[in-house]
Structure formats: structure tokens, C-alpha cells
Symmetry: C2
Subunit: 248 residues, 2 copies
């Protein structure tokens, strides 16, 4: 007769948080070669523009992603906290949202905001990566969807470095276009704090902790693949897909 193996005990909250931070240290896209090029001032004007065009699709989908999470939640307290993510991006009475700010970044980089908004400049592979984020939050349990948002834990340092790098190294970029990143310096830590507390509270078994870590890793792969797609088309090897009307 075989003895059943007892399930592994859950990690302590401190250890669980440390494992999440280790995912970010290893796989967050701040270490992607395209971001390193950006922060070293080595992107051409067209390459930085292409990043703004493609990353816009991510910005565009964030409120939809958060609405899916909102629709999964049954707790009014959770929804009350989460709903600000949607208004942060869509805007509200008297307050400009992140999507508009991103389009101002596009204009500051010499792009036509309406062309960016048309999404025709989004590479197919960039679209597939971002849509995988929608699929992840739609198909996994609430706590895993929340865990996937915890890349926000790693964002503030990247945002701070980015504002400095863009101001210093890309003088042709109008500085007024950088408000998006300045806003995220405030929003991301607030959001991450809430999300982290929620995930730690609700992942009380080792299995649920592991699933949360897997969701966070997949989210890192989504952000990484988005940059892979831009790098492939605009840096190395520099190939665009055929019959893609964003090339013209």
C-alpha cells in the first residue's frame, strides 16, 4: 500500500511575498533588452514611436481587463477599491484618464493620436500577447486574476527611471507628454498594496499560492512577449508580418 504524500504546508505571508518579488526580479520586463535600449537612449525615433503605438493596445485593454475582474467580484468592498483602476484609465468628470494621457504621449512623440487610436499600428503578435491577458483574467479565478496584476509591485522604479531617461535622452520628445508615467508613480503603489493584501489573505494553501505565482509569471511573459514583438519588427531582425497595414 502506498502512503499518500501530505500536501506541502503554505508559505508564510513573508515567504509568499518574497517568492512573488523573486518572480519580478527574474522576469519583469524592466530587464528586457528593448527597455534597456530605451533607458540607454539607444532607440531611434521610429523605434520609440513603435513602442508607443504597440503599448497603447495594452493601455487600451487595461480597463476592459479590470471590468472583467470587477464582474468576477462579489464583495462590495473589493469592487469599491478596484473600480478606481477603471476610472484611472478611462478618466472621469474633470479628471483625464490614462488612455488620453497616453495619446498625449503619442502626440509628444510626433505621432497622430487618431492613427494610434485606430489600432492599425498594433503588431499582430503584440495584439495576441495583450489579448492573452484578457483571456487570463476571464478564465482564471478572481484571486489569480488579481495576482496577475501584481506586476504593479515592480512598476514604480521602472516608471521613475523611464521619466528620467525619456527627459534626458530623447530631447525631441515633448516633456508635457510624460504625464502618464507621473500618474502611475502614484496609482501603481496604491493598487499594488491592495492587490497584494488581497492575494496574501486569500491564498492560504500552498497550491493556491503556487497558482497565484504561476499567474504572475504568465503576466510577466505577456509583458515580455509584447516587447519581443516590437523588438522583432523594429530592431532585430526587423521583419514585419505581410499584409499588415501598420507597416505603411
Amino acid at each position: 500500500m502506498s502512503e499518500s504524500v501530505p500536501p506541502a504546508p503554505p508559505d508564510s505571508p513573508e515567504r509568499f511575498v518574497a517568492r512573488m518579488r523573486a518572480v519580478g526580479a527574474a522576469a519583469y520586463h524592466d530587464q528586457h533588452p528593448f527597455h534597456l535600449m530605451m533607458h540607454q537612449g539607444r532607440l531611434t525615433r521610429r523605434q520609440l514611436q513603435a513602442w508607443i503605438e504597440n503599448r497603447f493596445y495594452y493601455q487600451w485593454r487595461i480597463p476592459k481587463k479590470d471590468a472583467i475582474i470587477l464582474a468576477k467580484a462579489n464583495d462590495p468592498d473589493f469592487r469599491r477599491a478596484w473600480i478606481s483602476r477603471i476610472t484611472d484609465h478611462d478618466g472621469a468628470e474633470g479628471r483625464e484618464g490614462g488612455i488620453r494621457k497616453w495619446l498625449r504621449l503619442a502626440a509628444a512623440a510626433g505621432l497622430d493620436p487618431n492613427d494610434v487610436l485606430s489600432l492599425r499600428r498594433v503588431l499582430p503578435a503584440a495584439r495576441f500577447a495583450v489579448d492573452a491577458y484578457i483571456d487570463l483574467v476571464a478564465t482564471r479565478p478572481l484571486v489569480e486574476a488579481v495576482a496577475s496584476s501584481l506586476t504593479e509591485l515592480f512598476a514604480p522604479e521602472l516608471m521613475a527611471n523611464r521619466v528620467m531617461a525619456l527627459e534626458r535622452l530623447y530631447p525631441w520628445l515633448d516633456r508635457a507628454g510624460l504625464d502618464y508615467f507621473r500618474g502611475r508613480l502614484v496609482e501603481a503603489p496604491r493598487d499594488a498594496e491592495f492587490g497584494l493584501a488581497y492575494v496574501v489573505k486569500h491564498c492560504t494553501t500552498r497550491e493556491s499560492q503556487d497558482r497565484a505565482l504561476a499567474a504572475l509569471t504568465t503576466k510577466c511573459h505577456i509583458l515580455w512577449s509584447l516587447l519581443d514583438a516590437i523588438h522583432f519588427a523594429y530592431v532585430t531582425p526587423g521583419w514585419m508580418p505581410p499584409l499588415w497595414n501598420g507597416a505603411s
Copy 2:
């Protein structure tokens, strides 16, 4: 008072089919640099293996894709014709399916079929591209889902060239592993003929024809992006995502 513009008349069946064939001529993945390398014998053993590992995820999802299409159909005649696609891949009593044949290809290339079957070797970006195909058939109308399958129109020539190239240029590959492609030489034309007749019959407006062409183009981008992901990780620039357990 503005005069309304009359809608464009539909293309004739001949013209509509010609437009679909033009999508294939421009964007089918037979022209992707990775396939050109493959057919010129320029892939290393590891690069060809990586293609087999990643393309397996596409094979793995095909029956699910076809089950989603089956579930959209209301016509028993349609379902009776379409169901053979699922048994072609899953197999049936006394008949080996395409998934098993692909795993025999993996073994013929020196891979462990169970390792391939575990999907751990599937690059995140390859997964996102293939999952976009599932999303396409799940979220668009039946006729557009069928149109997206019409890359089969362009497959037989690629399959015939591939069998010749793999036999001649990769002598270390066991020829018994090539049955998958030989099977597709028979199945793809039969499936494409049915799908093409269905799409031509049901797209009777210019708008529906254009939507069918858009679905076919997106499908070409999915196949193209799958090869982009393999090329990026295993050829140029040769970078794999961090915390991806297929790298070891």
C-alpha cells in the same frame, strides 16, 4: 441633405475566391524566413526540434478549435462534414490521429514525446498566437471561423515541399516520422474544398466577404507569429523569456 453611398456590390464567387487566394499568396507562412531556412536545409537539429515542440501546441489545439466550430453549427450536414476534422487529429477506432503522428515526428527527431506532450517547451509567444486562433473562432460568426480555416487551401504545396525537404536535407530525421504530412496531403484538400464552398455560399454581401477575408488574414498572422516566436528564441536574436521552464 447628404446622399447615402450605396453599399458596394458583392464580388462574384470567382473574384471572391481570387481575393482569398491573394491573401495566401501574400501572407501564408510558406514565405516566412524560418520556413525558407527549413526547406533549404539550414536549420540546426535543435532549431528543427524547437519547431516541432512549438508547432505541437497548434496541433494540440486544432481539435478544440474544430469542436468550437462544431458547437456553433446548427446544420447536421455541416456538422457531419466538419466532424472528420476532429477525428483526423484525435484519431478513432483503428485509426491513428494527427496528434499521435506529430508525437511520432517528435520521436523521429530525437525528442521525448512525453516532454513535447507536457507543453512545457511551448514558448509563451507561441502559446499566445495559437490561443488567438481559439479566440477568433470562439468570438466570430460561424462563417468567419470557417473562413479562418481556409489556409488549408495553401497547405498541400507546402506539405509536399516539406516532406521532400525533410527527407533530403535532414538525414538524421527518421523518415517514418513524416506520416503526419503525408496524411495532410489528403485531408487538407478535402477540408478546404468543403470550407471554401461554405464560405462562398454564405458570404453574399461585400461586407461579409470582407469580414471573411479579414478572418483569413488574421489566421495568416497567427501562423506567421508562431514562426516569429520560434525564430526570435532559436535563430535571431536568439533570446528566450526569463522564468520559462522550456529553456532548460
